[in-house]
Amino acid sequence: MAETRLIRKDALTKLFEKTRQSGRRILAPKAKGEQAFFEEVTSFGEVCLDHVQTRSSAKEAVFPKCEALLRYKFGDKGAVSYDEKPFEPPVTVVFGTRPCDARSLAALRAVFNWDTPDKFYLEREARTTIISVSCTKADSDCFCTSVGGGPGDTAGSDILLTPVSDKEYLAEILTEKGQAIVALAPELFATAGGAQKEPHLAKVAVQFDVNELAKTIPVTFNDEKVWQEQSLACLGCGTCAYVCPTCACFDIQDEANRQGGVRLRCWDSCGFSLFTLHTSGHNPRHVQSQRWRQRVMHKFSYYLERQGMLGCVGCGRCSRACPVDMNLVEHLKELALHGRNG
């Protein structure tokens, strides 16, 4: 399947035009202040690829922060009639994801296609093409290589672009969806020749042994002290989960007025104290340390058990976005050490 070509950077303008002409919307990193966010763009000129990582992840394309699951109207005496329109999410190209984000789709799919296939997620994913750009730089929060990924990893991407010179990208066309994009403007893609991507990739050091972690973390489960210490600074905001490309928890809300309503699915976070609050007032995870433990265990232990993969792609967003500088890698290393020492 995989095919390697070269595309000039200045040809991307044309590719964007063709893509949009084909009826696809394009989401790509846009700079805002010191950060970059995935937003809809109309031309390549709006795109900013200077950041190591966008603040928000690309999961918005397949798992929006606020998504209508159902719409209904109230008729006479409050009789409910449902909006039967078929679910037709926009055909989307996400451009400029990093390989870690592309990889996160597998983790999301594992959840949304697990026991009951989630038509909303699956339909959106089916209509989404991922054009990733390899990392040529990384920062101290990046740890993709520790969790099985890498700065030039192709997993999850439909096309992976790697800048091989100031003017050119090496384009790995990885899937049919990728081919379909190429087919929009085949003339823009030249033969690759001997270009190699590896020399251009960022160096991301391995920070911990993930296999060891998988074994040691469960040992720490009952070590309340370590979880308490780690989470003492935690404010219980949901930021880590909201910026995380693999966090899939959601809340369902009905919003209705006299005329009708909509059932919405919105992001949620296990960091919130209300996340597990029962109507009775009982809260099985009643302190922040338990919630922090849940988050870590879920990503590095439960996910492995149930989905056969990690729930973390090492993008480092949680560490960057945490308002109180809770650093995931730092904590993971500590946990590994703790587990090792029993």
Partner: protein, 269 residues
Amino acid sequence: MEELKNKVRELLKAGTVQAVIGYRAGSDEKTARVAFVRQPDEADGLILDPRCTDNLAVYLLKPEVKLLGKLAIVARPTTARTILQLASENQLADGQVIVLGVSADGKAVVELASFEALEKFVGQVPAGLTEEEKVLLAKIEGMSREERWAFWQSEFARCIKCYACRAACPMCYCSRCIVESNQPQWIPVSPHDEGNLEWHLVRAMHLAGRCLNCGFCAKACPMGIPLNLLTQRLAEEAKAAFGAVAGGSATGEYALSMFKADDKEGFIR
């Protein structure tokens, strides 16, 4: 700096407090993070420099932190004001916390064991917006109404309702936030445009007359929304209209709990 470390060691050694909330080095050279110092020798790790901007008062009400025992806290003037405001709202009792007040230049450290001492301390430091902040506010005020609407709509559109702004705010200590009140559901939970607008307006109103302008909310916002501008605007209004400034005293009056018979009312028909 040594002064601070010595004070912390003393307090812990003497058993006056069981923990000191301060700052330590963070993930990188640009970041400081909170330190919960419980052993005298841990005081060595404390830092005090321009990185140390988080309003640590937010931890004083966190149940897990309260369990550590009696607390001391390293406080710049804004944090000190926050403590007084919390006191005036019955969230902290006199003598409950020992404040290690850091002067505005970050050099001198004074131990403030009572609210009275704290009041004197903050009284020496003028409160209010910086010139920079005023310029930014004026810029938005100078826009046409339609421009302001467009500006805020584009900002609020990014909001993901993670409530980091609320979590970071030391004055957001409600045991149940209004957004979690669903009988009735005042504010839509969902992060759509209407829900976002209402959340940000309500958050700002709930902080009107109470905000200390520490800026922690804006810093915490992962989406980079300058939401402290809203509370700054209200703080300016409360000051101009009522002469009310939050955080000046432990018995301070809340601008909206009181009134003057001649409060201005040019807009009322």
